[in-house]
């Protein structure tokens, strides 16, 4: 038996580097995509209702047009109208927030940047609380609408406060912090002055992030906005690489700081506003996942952003599955779960960062 080398050894250093630089990172993403697909399928089979895995997949099959025997109406509705949109929304929110965080961290060159940087979550909270407590509008649609309106109002207030040169990161960061504090104060004022204990509990639940309101229309809206935003971010990956290194360099490579920042601040703000309106202010996904993804695949945004999207989606799907099942029948706000899991993960990443390379 002879041993033949499966491929000729690389003849130059360049080829060695090419292999290491581009090929070893792709499997991480392929693995992550597979894990996400399994998570979407798997998470819909888990829940408090007494349904088997076969029941769940049969229901999916029926709704995707396969000639199968449908489940009874109640079971069918639990799988198709409750669990499935909720899992999909968790994926969209988790992936979207992670991408927003990665983009904002590169753009502001601040590792602490997250999607709520520009006052978005504080504004959404004020909007949601106005609906819940002051009764501006009725129903789940009103809550989402109010939260979205609040988020947009906060972003506009941040822009106004930052002034004419708002695209400079230091200006928009400071303005975002100030506006966030202002809206948080207004939220507290409304809760303290007008809310009943029961309303306060409902408000707290929403503020901590919750996917209980997921429905197909929310999923469709979030998916459409997320798809558009991701395409824009994807097109901007060379600019993100350059700005992550430095503004002078990015500018000397042909990017306009004002145009690139305006486009990406606007895009991420809109996406974050839609996501936060759909799910409340779920913390730590947008902050932690980009750091974890950077650790896995490096900082080239062309591979970093899709990795963030996939890891963020998978992470939030499982966090939400835990939130709705671990203390069943009591449900925990998913933001509590993401913080409980996210903080230790973040601590680990900080320790890695401090270690000499």
């Amino acid at each position: 038996m002879t041993l033949t080398p499966s491929r000729t050894p690389p003849t130059t250093r360049t080829r060695v580097r090419a292999a290491r630089g581009t090929r070893t990172r792709a499997p991480v993403l392929i693995f992550a995509v597979a894990a996400l697909a399994l998570s979407v399928a798997g998470a819909t089979t888990i829940g408090t209702a007494d349904l088997t895995v076969t029941d769940v997949f049969r229901t999916h099959g029926v709704h995707l047009g396969l000639p199968l025997e449908p489940l009874p109406a109640l079971a069918d509705s639990i799988v198709w109208n409750l669990r499935t949109p909720r899992v999909l929304l968790a994926g969209l929110v988790g992936g979207g927030l992670a991408v927003c965080g990665a983009v904002l961290q590169a753009l502001t060159r601040n590792p602490l940047a997250d999607p709520y940087l520009l006052g978005i979550s504080a504004g959404a909270s004020t909007g949601a609380v106005s609906v819940l407590v002051l009764g501006l509008g009725v129903g789940a649609g009103a809550l989402t609408g109010g939260a979205f309106a609040g988020a947009v109002a906060a972003f506009l207030a941040t822009l106004a406060l930052a002034g004419r040169r708002w695209t400079e990161p230091s200006r928009i960061l400071l303005a975002g912090v100030a506006v966030g504090q202002l809206f948080a104060a207004v939220t507290s004022l409304i809760v303290v002055s007008a809310a009943s204990p029961q309303q306060t509990r409902g408000v707290t639940f929403w503020l901590l992030g919750s996917l209980t309101m997921a429905g197909w229309s929310t999923v469709a809206l979030a998916a459409a906005v997320a798809a558009g935003a991701l395409l824009i971010c994807r097109a901007a990956t060379p600019a993100l690489d350059a700005f992550a290194f430095g503004t002078d360099v990015a500018q000397s490579l042909g990017f306009s700081p004002v145009i690139v920042r305006a486009l990406l601040f606007g895009t991420t703000a809109l996406l974050a506003a839609v996501l936060v309106a759909a799910s409340g202010a779920i913390g730590f996904v947008g902050l932690t996942v980009p750091h974890a993804a950077r650790y896995l695949v490096g900082s080239r945004h062309r591979i970093l952003l899709p990795t963030c999207a996939v890891i963020g989606a998978t992470f939030l799907i499982w966090a939400d599955t835990a939130a709705r099942t671990v203390f069943a029948p009591q449900e925990v706000p998913v933001g509590v779960v993401t913080a409980l899991l996210g903080v230790p993960a973040f601590a680990l990443l900080i320790r890695r960062r401090q270690a000499p390379a």
Partner: protein
């Protein structure tokens, strides 16, 4: 490619940083910007690179106003290394170098194998073989400077602008860099703090003080004891080297 700046003026809050600066760098020359701290060297380089818009005046590349050029077109012709470094950028050295290829490919295209090979070669040329996977944040000041200059060269510019490119380098790399800059095809304008390094390698020297051009010409024309005393406030003795270039001995501070 010839770079020419005409009557550049730039003031910030009434304080003039550059006043009526005109500068000419013929194709392929190495032009040294000299002057004490705050004389306007860095400001002038930023204006020349298009990073800063002056209040008045214009910058011409082969006679074409750079402000009329699309940014990407300018980026294919002109590269710059400023002194503002992202000290905490969590990027590998190879990723930093690959940035230089962005202006040379279509906006939505990915980096090619040729880009990767060119970046590898740039590392070897800069004496940084084996640094590809090092994190930028772990490099020393001198290593960062060498990577940054390699990045600017990999941009394949016809005009290269460098702000204090030698201030963190060991003497060996200082000489190596200036020899390469003097011999290479791009037109180079470099702010330098070492008068003798400038005298030795530059084709022309532009001496700045208080945002104005005090003198411009060959090193021997510009570097006279009287001018050095006036601009740097030090007494100097200037010798002629055998190759016809001046050598400046700094003696003592001019008091009063």
């Amino acid at each position: 490619m010839r770079l020419r700046a005409e009557r550049i003026t730039w003031a910030v809050r009434g304080k003039p940083l550059l006043a009526d600066v005109t500068l000419d760098a013929p194709d392929g020359t190495l032009v040294g910007l000299l002057g004490p701290n705050g004389s306007g060297k860095s400001s002038l380089l930023r204006v020349l690179a298009g990073l800063q818009r002056p209040d008045s005046g214009r910058v011409l590349l082969d006679g074409v106003d750079t402000r009329s050029m699309p940014r990407r077109v300018l980026a294919r012709r002109l590269a710059v290394v400023t002194q503002h470094h992202a000290s905490d950028a969590d990027m590998s050295v190879l990723d930093v170098l690959l940035l230089a290829r962005i202006p040379h490919r279509p906006l939505l295209a990915a980096g090619s194998a040729a880009d990767l090979a060119a970046a590898e070669q740039a590392l070897v040329d800069a004496g940084l073989a084996g640094f590809a996977d090092r994190r930028w944040s772990t490099l020393s000041g001198g290593e960062r400077q060498r990577v940054d200059i390699a990045r600017a060269l990999l941009q394949q510019p016809q005009v290269l602008l460098l702000d204090e490119p030698t201030n963190h380098l060991d003497v060996r790399y200082q000489l190596d860099l200036l020899e390469r800059l003097a011999a290479g095809p791009p037109t180079v304008i470099a702010a330098l703090h070492d008068i003798n390094l400038a005298a030795r390698f530059c084709d022309r020297i532009v001496l700045l003080n208080g945002g104005r051009v005090v003198a411009a010409g060959s090193p021997a024309q510009v570097l006279t004891p009287a001018r050095i005393a006036e601009v740097y406030e030090v007494h100097a003795q200037v010798d002629d080297d055998p190759d016809g270039r001046p050598y400046v001995h700094l003696r003592s501070v001019v008091w009063g």
